[in-house]
């Protein structure tokens, strides 16, 4: 439910084989209604376990379509295209902050999707328009959208690196620490922090995101996390044409941290602009980057604030650490190098990274105030 609302999906498809489907589907429809997200439709199937009588009952309760055993994949794809593939008609007023935020993000994405190939000029003008203060502030919302003039915008942390380096797992492990830390602090010390994650999928043909990162992020499925997946729509460099505007919106909303994850990037990529909206950049590397010379070609090694060698349990990790350390020394900047094993629960390397990210927060607040 949370995922569907945050991603502002058109429909939820449910596959259910082990019974309880009548109640389960009805509950999903009901919850969507209660949360004011009833323009998200529900369909599904369950092989032979859902009878025609059940289906009639379920459709009576607001489920749009049940597919029966023997339906071909094409038939289902056609149905989804036909019914959920076209642009939405006018939408009713959104009832909560997260729905409002999710829809705003969709609007930004749609604007870029409608223009066939946004020129850099068009991009710039749109970007500025999206940064205008939002007129409507929704009071009762969890994710309140604020005017940026308040000066305490979220701290934005960018994660990039080659595909398969473990960025998503690493972010998810950091989220676990954010959430747990707060749980310990809950008693009076400070309010719980809210976090937004903007992740990217490299889709070219379709316009939607694959939601692959979401499936990996098991710890981030929490009411204090707003996660949104974006498709790069063919743009190189790891981000989507709409990223900048979406990020700006999230940064002005009531989050303590906004985390942005690029798709797996190549050596030349520098997804986060200098002096841009991103406060801290983290490059996540795999120990298997090839020869030492390859390191010279990775542009992000010059730009990142923190470099993480993930999968440091692999045999090559020590060599990788040494070589990257030497490479970073050339830059004569205070870049940090951390080894992690993100797949390991309670990994001390991830703890160190978490501390580094949160410790730098207080200092950075003043920096923002100055900038803005």
């Amino acid at each position: 439910m949370r995922a569907a609302i945050q991603e502002d999906v058109r429909a939820i498809g449910i596959s259910s084989y082990n019974g309880g489907h009548v109640e389960f589907f009805a509950e999903v429809v009901d919850l969507l209604r209660k949360r004011g997200a009833d323009d998200i439709k529900v369909f599904g199937g369950g092989g032979g376990t859902i009878t025609h009588d059940d289906a009639a009952l379920m459709e009576g309760k607001g489920v749009e379509k049940i597919f029966f055993a023997g339906t071909s994949l094409e038939e289902m794809v056609d149905y989804v295209r036909e019914n959920y593939g076209k642009p939405r008609k006018k939408r009713s007023r959104s009832k909560s902050g997260d729905i409002e935020l999710a829809r705003k993000l969709s609007e930004i994405e749609d604007r870029f999707a409608r223009s066939k190939r946004p020129t850099p000029k068009a991009f710039a003008s749109r970007a500025s328009s999206a940064q205008r203060p939002l007129s409507k502030i929704i009071r009762d919302s969890r994710f309140e959208i604020r005017d940026s003039k308040r000066g305490t915008r979220a701290r934005v942390i960018g994660f990039t690196g080659p595909g398969g380096a473990g960025k998503t797992t690493l972010i998810d492990e950091l989220m676990l620490r954010f959430l747990n830390q707060d749980r310990q602090l809950r008693k009076g010390l400070r309010a719980e922090s809210y976090i937004a994650i903007l992740s990217h999928d490299p889709s070219v043909i379709g316009e939607g995101a694959l939601l692959g990162d979401r499936a990996t992020m098991i710890n981030s499925q929490d009411d204090r996390v707003f996660m949104r997946s974006m498709a790069t729509r063919g743009q190189a460099g790891g981000l989507s044409p709409a990223t900048h505007d979406c990020l700006a919106l999230l940064a002005r909303s009531d989050f303590d941290y906004v985390i942005i994850e690029t798709v797996g990037t190549g050596q030349e990529a520098m997804p986060f602009q200098r002096n841009g909206i991103v406060d801290l950049t983290v490059l996540v590397m795999n120990p298997d980057y090839g020869s030492r010379l390859q390191l010279q070609k990775i542009v992000m090694l010059d730009l990142a604030d923190i470099v993480v060698v993930n999968k440091s349990d692999l045999q090559r990790a020590r060599t990788a650490h040494t070589e990257i350390e030497q490479r970073l020394e050339q830059n004569r900047r205070a870049q940090r190098l951390i080894d992690t094993v993100a797949k390991r629960h309670r990994d001390p390397g991830v703890d160190a990274l978490y501390n580094l990210i949160t410790r730098s927060r207080d200092g950075s607040r003043t920096k923002h105030a100055d900038k803005e």
Binding site: Y17, N18, G19, G20, H21, V22, E23, F24, E27, G47, G48, T49, T51, H52, D53, F68, A69, G70, S72, T169, D172, G212, A215, T216, I218, N219, K343, H345, R346
Partner: protein, 598 residues
């Protein structure tokens, strides 16, 4: 090299050994004569049985060979039933009916000459629905005509994922597809009326992710009913197969390494304290059902088995303590490979356990439970499923499975209803008791030239899969690399394609279609809301009653886990006062959660 690589070498070496024996039997006159003498003696001593029509038949059928080389090929390459390398069967006799009264002139008692119990019926039907008391009632119904009570328990979705019935969003799933178990009190209700310590009783529990906790609940429930002395007498099987969950079924709740650690803790305890319990059922069934080819099914199952053996050995559990307590579970479908899949698996397992792990004869046995293929059953013209299941049953028994579950024809729609369960059970009785196929002669159908050809092709293909896994660094590395998972998915996709393009005929679905897609009139087994509410209420009561004790027990459990000690004893205490969800939740805080492989 992992032990799997050594298994490949051991099988190759053994095959060469067999060829050497063949040559030696031909060149070494004395050796050849010895073999021929043994062969002839076995043949002459084989008892003769009479069919109901009076036809005399030998109880053991052997090929008509008298040349010493061929005799060597049989004795070393296949072995008599119950002899290494166990191609023809882990045991002798098996389903044969006792020697008929006519021959001895007096009525045979139920015990044989050794004073051991008469063999158990191989029928073991999987069952689980609604709440514990409902499943209990079904168990009593299923076993009312049986001398031995072999129960097989299916759990509902929330239980399989280690979640309590009061968790968010699970209400409609309570008691669906299996029985809802939250606490030790449910476990007491589940097997009420059965004598858990009896040699005629055994319980099988199909659960893997939370298996150590469920196992602890079972032991605790048995102790509540029969006192602590019942523990060493407990007989049964718990699935507890983590590898196949990650490869095929996804019901994993802790990260792989933590899951394997809890599993080893349990195995260490049960193999020492409960010598009649099978703490792990190494399962190819779910791999097969997820869409693997038969070769993949056998290869991944066997290699998972060897990986577990390697892990337990590394824990210093003696191989003769854990080896005999490993059991297997395979799928049996309609593809021709199933003519010999279990036979070939039994041989590879025996060679690997003997020559790589140094197991004694009991630890070499590939003890097998088979289930007919659920995936092969379809909703369209579902009564055809009876025929499919019957053919699969035939194949399963031809492979000398030690126990077998036959699916109900209505399974594409629902938890089986009593009518179709009865037909499924009767299918087995018809095959084993009514027909003469498996009654009079061991080995009646083994060893045809076609079957031999299938065996050779299967063994080569399975070993090739082993080599690939070994190249990836062994089973655990391959699993983490998603190797088996992606292979299975690929095979599943191909299978579906074949159904759609018609190259794989499914009668009534893509061939000889009736035209009408009439909805079958079947009374579905659904859990009423009131029952689901009852389960939630019971759980609330349990939690309230034990609130203070639960906290202490969980802290103690966490302490043991953090220290890295065997946590199974602590778990036995924890389940007395904590629910399944309370325990998994707390453990996940310590060891993390399983991250799905996408």
């Amino acid at each position: 090299m992992s032990k799997l690589g050594q298994v490949v070498e051991a099988v190759e070496k053994y095959n060469k050994f067999v060829l050497d024996q063949v040559k030696r039997a031909r060149s070494d006159k004395k050796f050849g004569r010895e073999l021929a003498d043994r062969w002839n003696e076995t043949k002459s001593k084989t008892p003769v049985t009479h069919t109901p029509t009076g036809l005399p038949l030998p109880r053991l059928a052997l090929p008509e060979i008298d040349e010493p080389g061929e005799i060597a090929r049989y004795l070393f390459g296949e072995g008599f039933p119950g002899e290494f390398p166990f191609l023809n069967g882990a045991y002798r006799e098996m389903y044969l009916e006792p020697v008929r009264e006519i021959e001895t002139g007096k009525k045979r008692s139920t015990t044989n000459g050794n004073g051991a119990q008469a063999p158990e019926e191989p029928t073991r039907l999987f069952s689980g629905l609604m709440l514990a008391e409902d499943t209990n009632e079904r168990f009593h119904y299923l076993t009312r005509h049986q001398r031995t009570h072999r129960l097989s328990t299916a759990f509902d979705g929330p239980t399989l994922y280690g979640i309590d019935s009061d968790a968010d969003g699970v209400f409609g799933k309570i008691g669906e597809g299996g029985v809802a178990i939250d606490t030790v009190e449910d476990m007491v209700r589940l097997y009420d009326g059965f004598d858990l310590g009896s040699p005629n009783f055994s319980a099988s529990m199909t659960i893997s992710g939370p298996a150590p906790i469920i196992m602890a609940m079972y032991i605790a429930a048995a102790k509540r009913r029969f006192g602590p002395k019942v523990v060493p007498k407990l007989r049964g099987t718990i699935q507890a197969d983590i590898f196949k969950e990650v490869q095929a079924q996804n019901e994993t709740i802790f990260p792989i390494e933590a899951s394997l650690r809890f599993l080893s803790d349990m195995v260490e305890f049960t193999t020492r304290e409960m010598p009649r319990w099978y703490p792990i059922s190494i399962s190819g069934y779910h791999i097969g059902e997820a869409g693997s080819t038969p070769v993949q099914q056998a290869a991944y199952t066997l290699s998972n088995g060897f990986a577990y053996a390697e892990m337990f050995a590394a824990r210093s559990i003696p191989v003769d303590q854990f080896g005999p307590r490993l059991s297997f579970f395979l799928d049996c479908g309609l593809d021709v490979e199933y003519v010999a899949l279990a036979r070939v698996s039994r041989r590879i397992w025996a060679i690997g356990m003997r020559d790589v792990f140094g197991a004694g004869s009991r630890g070499q046995l590939f003890k097998l439970h088979t289930q007919t293929s659920g995936r092969s059953l379809v909703a369209a013209e579902f009564k055809n499923n009876l025929t499919r299941t019957a053919a699969e049953l035939m194949l399963a028994y031809m492979n000398a499975t030690n126990s077998c579950h036959s699916n109900s024809a209505d399974e594409p729609f629902t938890t089986p209803s009593e009518e179709w369960i009865r037909l499924a059970a009767h299918g087995q009785a018809i095959l084993l008791e009514e027909s003469g196929i498996f009654k009079h002669t061991m080995n009646l159908l083994s060893g045809s030239p076609g079957m031999k050809a299938v065996e050779r092709a299967l063994e080569a293909a399975i070993l090739e899969e082993f080599r690939e896994i070994e190249r990836l660094g062994g089973v655990l590395a391959a699993v983490e690399d998603r190797f088996q998972r992606s292979q299975i998915q690929n095979a599943a996709h191909r299978y579906e394609q074949q159904i759609y393009d018609g190259t794989r005929p499914i009668i009534g679905l893509n061939k000889y279609r009736n035209g009408e897609d009439a909805a079958p009139e079947i009374k579905l087994a659904r859990t009423p809301r009131a029952k689901q509410q009852l389960q939630v209420d019971r759980l609330a009561k349990f939690k309230k009653k034990n609130a203070a004790k639960a906290k202490r027990a969980l802290d103690k459990l966490v302490d043991v886990v953090e220290r890295g000690d065997n946590c199974f004893r602590a778990l036995l205490e924890t389940v007395e006062v904590c629910s399944l969800g309370q325990i998994t939740g707390r453990l996940q805080e310590i060891v993390g959660r399983f991250r799905p492989m996408v």
